[in-house]
Amino acid sequence: MNSRATQISAEVLSNKRVGSYNHMVFAVDGLAAHCKPGNFVAISVGGPTSSMILRRAFAIYRATMRSDGIGLLELVVAPMGSGSKWLASQQPGDFVDLIAPLGTAFGIPKDPVNALLIGGGYGSAPLFALAETLKQRGCRVDMVLGASTAGKIYAPLEGKRSVNSLTITTDDGSAGTTGRVSDVLPELIKEHEVDVIYSCGPMAMLEAITKISQTFGVVHQCSVEESMACGIGVCMTCVLPVEGDDGLIRMTRTCIDGPVMDGNKVLWTHSREIPDGVWGK
């Protein structure tokens, strides 16, 4: 549970189209000071008479405090479904009902390490603020961004500056290396002597990264994406089988015990069944 979670009405300050996505900035008062890379927000969509009753979850792209004391929260919104399309249509001056910060954050090492940050599609959103934090701690930061096609790579200019190297992969070869992030991963781990992998993106990508990270004995912190109804831990919808510190595998809520999780502790499964060995099966 993120004890800082607060529900506010947040004003849209800007909304700009970037490639396939919308970069949106919200005024969130002092909340911004409590947002850490990896945390997410949950936003009501559709307005007060909407038939969409559930909040939509978005990873925080960046949260900063302006010198005048106003907190800014930035999101990268992919207008895919009717909820995210509604949000992407909101203009400066509009207000949205927003809860932040939610969920766990990426763990930051005390001593400098070699970090590799991997983002799939708009999953790259939380990685740029993470890169800045890691650089401030003296880490080497390399980044891989993958997507189906060039327009779906989210890599703003300022983001590129905060990393030592940026590798791009696309399924269709329209930018960077043709293929998937997992194809270029083994070489990058060896070349940059990677200690820690941070990732965010589709579940199949996170599973593939976990397998590779285990082969190389590299720590893997991933931000998972399960569909959520509430974002605050009450609906029990967004669960994944995860091994706890006591060795028990539980169906674990990714909204309050995630979204950032130890990739090695997740039982990646696509069976649409509860895996054997899960507590209470």
Binding site: V234, C235, T237, L240, G280
Partner: protein, 310 residues
Amino acid sequence: MTLNFSTSLAGAFFPNPIFTASGCAGSGKELSQFFPLTSLGAVVTKSIMIKPRSGRATPRMAETPSGMLNSIGLQGPGIDIFLENDIPWLREQGARIIVSIAGESVDDYAVLARRLRSVPGISALEVNISCPNVENRGQVFACNPVTAAEAITAVRRNIGGELPIIAKLSPDVTDITEIAQSVVAAGADGLALINTLLGMVIDTNSMLPRLSQKTGGLSGPAIRPVAVRAIYQVHAALPHIPIVGMGGVASGRDAFELVLAGARAISVGTATFGNPSAVIKVRDELEEICTMRGFSSFSDAVGFAHRVES
């Protein structure tokens, strides 16, 4: 004139009539960071079973127009851990507690009732005999007057004392008043109406059911007219049996509608997923509406839609 906003269910007193709905408030901790639990009439816990339960596989949820389907499948820690952790914590908060229980057999209900009979600090027991997310639809006790009564009898015989028993019923039956009469005859002191309705969503891209378990329970404003109908029918048939009404309540106006139909208390469930403080909003709005409509006591509004205008 100050409104008397308190309510009672079979002898159990509550300072206001707004409760959480079982399975929609976690362990209580998750909501307590948004408001103090003492501001609720009562916290209704998730339906607890004898053993720990993983729940069903994902996807467990699909949003629908003004509603959602879920097939959580009663994920929970089981009665031992529940009594060790959840109940003492809720008691420390000063929350009024209604414990919801669910079983797979009549004997399960008997065992759970025995485990709870001497636990201090509980206001009432909700007996969930109507969860739609079970392996076999034939196991939904509340779909048959005989099995519904058997489960309630098992609780009645084992609970002892004065803890009120509230039977939670399913609207997925031909005649809900028949089930209601059967469980009341078996010893239920009150009724919780309604549980979710069984539904299905098919993903037109994958051309397969969206939920891993194919079917799920439909909740949210989409089912409110069904709740109003069920409460109205049961209140007409059993006017002296207290009803905890639920089903798509997201505002004070919605709660008032269920009260007019005959509900003596209101649970807010799915609305909490969209708005963590929905329960407080409903409470404040309902209090204002009852006052505005000139009621001096909340209980005077209960079943007010049944009156005959001369």
